[in-house]
């Protein structure tokens, strides 16, 4: 990785942290935060690999004890609680958003952006976060965890729309993802 890639990775880890400053709406046990918007933007702007690393770096910072999550929490506790699955899903979600974005880069538009952000930023996050809750308490069935997570859907849909609108415009103004196989002459 070039230093520039490291800087972009650090930048998006910082952006996710700053999104944690946006006041969260507490709905039951899991807060609705703006931070998953950061998951979508990291994948959409940086692509799969760097997006993944940005969210991984963010989680490392949380794990070593910096209170960067929206609730002002941090440390190792958040990684063992029942909602930890949502946290673990973030790097993977960003990776999937980035992967779809890269694959559709040459014809990228609002529709592709929405697809990428909904699949990576919502479906992947739910697919990992929901079963994790169920692991915690044997009696909490998948179905209950699944039903419970519906409160997040409207918020997540809004975030996917915002991320997609932003991603399409940033691609025009400052594209970071490179077209596959550009001439390798310029170093």
């Amino acid at each position: 990785m070039k230093t520039r890639d490291l800087a972009y990775v650090a930048l998006f880890a910082a952006i996710v942290a700053v999104l944690g400053l946006v006041p969260a709406i507490q709905v039951g046990p899991v807060p609705i935060t703006a931070q998953t918007l950061g998951v979508m933007l990291a994948g959409s702007v940086l692509g799969a690999r760097r997006g993944f690393l940005a969210l991984l770096l963010f989680l490392v910072l949380v794990a070593v004890g910096l209170p960067l999550l929206a609730s002002g929490s941090g440390g190792l506790s958040v990684f063992v609680g029942p909602s930890a699955g949502y946290l673990y899903s973030w790097p993977i979600g960003a990776f999937v958003v980035g992967l779809i974005t890269e694959l559709t880069w040459t014809r990228y538009n609002l529709a592709w952006a929405l697809l990428a952000n909904v699949v990576g930023g919502i479906l992947v996050v739910y697919a990992i976060g929901i079963p994790f809750v169920a692991v915690y308490a044997d009696a909490v069935t998948l179905r209950q965890s699944f039903t419970g997570s519906f409160v997040f859907l409207p918020g997540d849909a809004v975030k996917a729309v915002i991320a997609s609108l932003v991603a399409v415009q940033v691609r025009r103004a400052y594209p970071v993802i490179e077209r596959p196989r550009r001439a390798a002459a310029v170093r």
Binding site: M1, K2, T3, R4, L6, A7, Y8, V9, A10, L11, A13, A14, I15, A17, V18, L21, G28, P29, L41, V45, L57, F58, V60, L61, A63, V64, G65, L66, P67, S71, S73, G74, G75, L76, S77, V78, F79, V80, G81, P82, S83, Y136, A137, D138, A139, V140, Q144, V158, V161, I162, L165, V166, Q169, V170, A173, Y174, V176
Partner: protein, 217 residues
């Protein structure tokens, strides 16, 4: 790193190597899931509390804050498991979650950020094979901590500028009209930062003190 959750106390728990404490945390989480009986989980919880409050002399309020963060979960899990599996299984689920959260809180509060970062670097050392330089993790963390206030500050500036011209301050439009210029600005800033680091040798393959002959990244 002043915003860390570390609580300085001169105690054997604080002095214990970070790696040992992390291993102990892993051991705790394995035990409470592998042996799900009330005496075992309850015993581990007592041990965690003794370590945190007794030996490490952490303020009870600090551990209380960590519990409050999951209080909703405790309630929800207790109700759902209680209805399906009875009081005993509800108690088990609640104790298990409490034990894990408190054990993790004790490790976090007794271990300096720099020590944990060193563990992360050590964990990443096998990645050297795929071209990741563990020493770069310190640089990544430094950059992130530097970028956080810069991003927040620029976001504020853009919002002010837009409000001054009568732009939207709420809703989806406000988000996109702020986020697009913000991202473009901070991406440029990150690019310049990378150039500045390179100008001071950040992309040198390896410090010349090391034996030469390592391949290019």
């Amino acid at each position: 790193m002043t915003l860390a959750l570390y609580v300085p106390v001169a105690s054997p728990v604080h002095r214990a190597p970070a790696g040992v404490k992390l291993l102990a945390l892993i051991a705790v989480s394995v035990v409470v899931f592998a042996v799900p009986t009330l005496p075992v989980v309850g015993g581990v919880l007592v041990a965690v509390l003794l370590t945190g409050l007794g030996i490490a002399r952490l303020p009870a309020a600090l551990l209380g804050r960590q519990v409050r963060a999951v209080v909703w979960w405790l309630l929800a899990l207790a109700v759902v498991t209680g209805v399906v599996g009875g009081v005993a299984s509800a108690a088990l689920v609640v104790l298990r979650l409490l034990t894990l959260v408190l054990a993790a809180a004790v490790v976090t509060a007794t271990t300096r950020v720099t020590e944990l970062v060193a563990v992360v670097e050590w964990l990443c050392s096998p990645l050297r094979v795929v071209g990741v330089r563990p020493a770069r993790i310190g640089l990544l963390i430094a950059m992130t901590l530097r970028f956080i206030p810069l991003v927040a500050e620029r976001a504020e500036r853009i919002r002010d500028a837009q409000a001054a011209r009568g732009g939207a301050v709420r809703g989806i439009r406000a988000w996109t009209t702020t986020a697009v210029p913000l991202l473009v600005q901070v991406l440029q800033m990150a690019h310049t930062t990378a150039e500045a680091l390179d100008a001071r040798g950040a992309d040198d393959d390896a410090p010349p003190a090391r034996p030469p002959g390592r391949g290019r990244r």
